[in-house]
């Protein structure tokens, strides 16, 4: 402490979480709670409950993912003997405890799915027992085939995995804060080097666990929404999405703390490296996005292409906005060194990609659930699920659209005719959207108006499905408020200045080597 230039840094490094900031997060949480309640109580049918569960799942995955990426950030930097992040390491350390909330979030979701709560069978097709029953008319061979992995028990296990991550988050944070009050050298008990070494052991253990368990969770949470679809790249792609959102969030929190007069030792050099992270990982995200897209596009397998066909045909705005916000904009904005070092530019880009990756998860989850909904509606109209006949369906068929060989009618045709229903989904199986949410919830009547005007509704946009509606935005704000509440509370519990960390000096003198002359003090 005595031999470097920032010896007075500890004076104002205790963040106090009160007043406007606390009120702001509480208002956000209230908005989120109202939006969740609205989406649950606005209608009593599965459709509205589906919207509730989708938003719940989407935001839980996104914000728990950010907390998970924060643990990953700390452990990778610890393992790589990284030092530059030390000056702001209390921020990822404060983001990690959202994992404790995540355990509750996914336990609730897991139990709801286990109990078969209303709407969850639309969230995940594998949660409807009828589809897994070979003797039932609605038997779904692919869902049955995958049910060894995607089933309610395995899903509930993801809450346990988040709990395991939480243990690591707890240990990282505990060891780091313990270091603040530990002498550098003493003959007995804990010393700073011992604590650093123990952090490294936890980091080394966490990395392989994180690698496998994050894939498991993402397959369960996100990929199994599209029950008939799978992609081996998907887990990496989703994890990188979380990582970019985490870096963006971290930078915005740092800016907030700087505006409050904290983190004095944080310089343009650290800004520059965080900018490189946002820039580099945005490109890496695109690389994975495109790798997944191109292989599926090229091989043209029905069961794979249905994922992109659905998004490209019905969710075109989201599909392209996603690429534009998360690749084109950060790529060109942050390409110059100077823009990575400019506070305003980087803050703007961080906000942009944060929303962009929220939208990325939106387009991973919502279209799949919408497909499930259409699938189930189709089965009902085919005279099975709901047990009522639908004149629209007859009109539909006499219009020359004979779907008897399609996947949606496999329940009648393939099962009866071929015994064992092994089929491949074709892209044209995807049903046209019906403006259900705007109709006040009575989907049966709305669906019945299709038929002749079926194709005119081909690209109708449904609020809350094809583009995020106010409920979606409000729910996101609520989860954001909860996340900020937890993070800022944790930030206020420890000094922002890890005064005994052995890498502190390295971090304070961190230099990317491209500074201009005004940077010299």
């Amino acid at each position: 402490m005595s031999n470097h230039s920032h010896s007075n840094e500890t004076s104002n490094e205790n963040f106090v979480f009160t007043g406007t900031a606390k009120l702001f997060t509480l208002v956000l949480i209230a908005i989120g709670a109202i939006c969740l309640a609205l989406s649950w109580f606005s209608g009593s049918d599965d459709m509205h409950h589906m919207r509730f569960w989708t938003n719940y799942l989407h935001n839980s995955v996104f914000f728990v993912g950010i907390a998970f990426a924060a643990v990953l950030f700390l452990s990778t930097h610890t393992m790589a003997w990284g030092g530059w992040q030390t000056i702001f390491k209390r921020i990822p350390e404060a983001m990690m405890p959202f994992l404790y909330v995540g355990v509750v979030l996914f336990a609730i979701l897991g139990i709801a799915i286990y109990m078969g709560a209303s709407g969850t069978e639309l969230l995940y097709l594998w949660n409807e027992p009828n589809y897994l029953d070979p003797t039932h008319a609605d038997y779904d061979a692919l869902a049955h085939h995958k049910s060894a992995f995607v089933n309610p028990t395995a899903y509930l296990l993801t809450a346990l995995i988040v709990a395991v991550w939480s243990i690591f988050a707890f240990m990282f944070r505990k060891l780091s804060i313990q270091q603040d009050n530990t002498p550098h050298t003493i003959t007995s008990g804990d010393t700073v080097p011992k604590l650093t070494k123990r952090t490294r052991i936890y980091a080394a253990a966490f990395l392989p666990i994180a690698g496998f368990s994050s894939a498991y969770c993402i397959w369960q949470w996100v990929m199994s929404v599209d029950t008939h679809w799978y992609s081996t790249l998907f887990a990496w792609y989703a994890t990188v999405s979380m990582w970019v959102a985490m870096v963006a969030m971290m930078y915005m929190l740092i800016l907030y703390l700087r505006s409050k007069g904290h983190l004095k030792a944080f310089t343009d050099e650290h800004t520059h490296d965080l900018g490189k992270y946002i820039f580099g990982f945005s490109i890496f995200w695109t690389y994975l996005w495109f790798s997944q897209f191109m292989l599926i596009w090229y091989s043209n397998n029905g069961e794979e292409t249905q994922y992109f066909y659905l998004r490209f045909e019905q969710f075109k705005p989201i599909f392209f906005i996603n690429l534009f916000i998360n690749f084109v904009l950060p790529f060109f904005i942050l390409m110059m060194n100077s823009s990575k070092r400019t506070l305003g530019t980087l803050a703007f880009t961080a906000g942009l990609v944060f929303f962009g990756h929220w939208l990325d998860f939106y387009q991973m989850i919502k279209p799949g659930v919408w497909y499930n909904y259409e699938h189930v509606m189709h089965l009902k109209h085919a005279g099975h699920g709901a047990g009522h006949s639908d004149p629209a369906h007859d009109a539909h068929d006499t219009n020359g659209h004979d779907h008897s060989n399609d996947a949606h009618d496999h329940s009648t045709e393939s099962h009866d005719a071929h015994g064992d229903a092994t089929y491949q989904l074709q892209p044209n199986d995807i049903q046209q959207p019906k403006a259900v949410l705007t109709s006040g919830g009575d989907h049966n009547n709305t669906a019945a108006t299709s038929g002749d005007d079926h194709h005119e509704k081909e690209h109708s946009t449904v609020m809350g499905v094809h583009i995020p509606g106010l409920i979606e935005i409000g729910t996101m704000l609520g989860f954001l408020g909860l996340f900020l509440f937890v993070t800022l509370t944790m930030l206020s519990r420890a000094s922002l200045y890890p005064k005994n960390d052995p890498y502190l000096l390295e971090s304070e003198h961190h230099d990317t080597g491209v500074g201009v002359i005004k940077d010299i003090h």
């Binding site: 495109f290 897209f293 390409m335 100077s338 500074g515």
Partner: protein, 176 residues
Amino acid sequence: MRVLNKKVLFGLYNDEEILKSAILEINGENAEIMEVYTPFPVHGLDPYLGFNESRLHIAGFLYGMMGTTLAFGFMSWVFTANWPIIFGGKPYFSVPSFIPITFEFTVLMAAVGMVITFYLICGLGPGVENPYLDPRITDDKFCIAFDVTNSSREEVAALSGLLQRTSAEEVHTKNI
């Protein structure tokens, strides 16, 4: 070996931190440094020497854009006009299938273009032998050099004293 017809006074330092503080001190005396040689890139040296941000990366961007245009344009021309072939039932003009090659060619053009530009700027290339002040500069010595071709004996002595005051291990003069 190239001959520059210069008389150079240089001091050798043992450590990059000593070198940096020496440069600051020399700047304070308003002495004009000809060049600083280090065995490895020393972070933060550029602003000490008053260098502006390099424009090499702007050239790199232009080379990259050139690569993008060339690769994408060439493939578009070949597969739609010159020699259309159907691959995997895809249309002739299939943008996704062009992207990997476009990407690779962009990187190649930017990288090779920047290397060639850098070599031209620095006067490097195969067969070129540039004069050197001391072979240890490529190993473990850090060097500050002054151009004293047109300096008087007193000026050289003053600079030499300045180098010694800033903890130079050795001070030499050399004609290159």
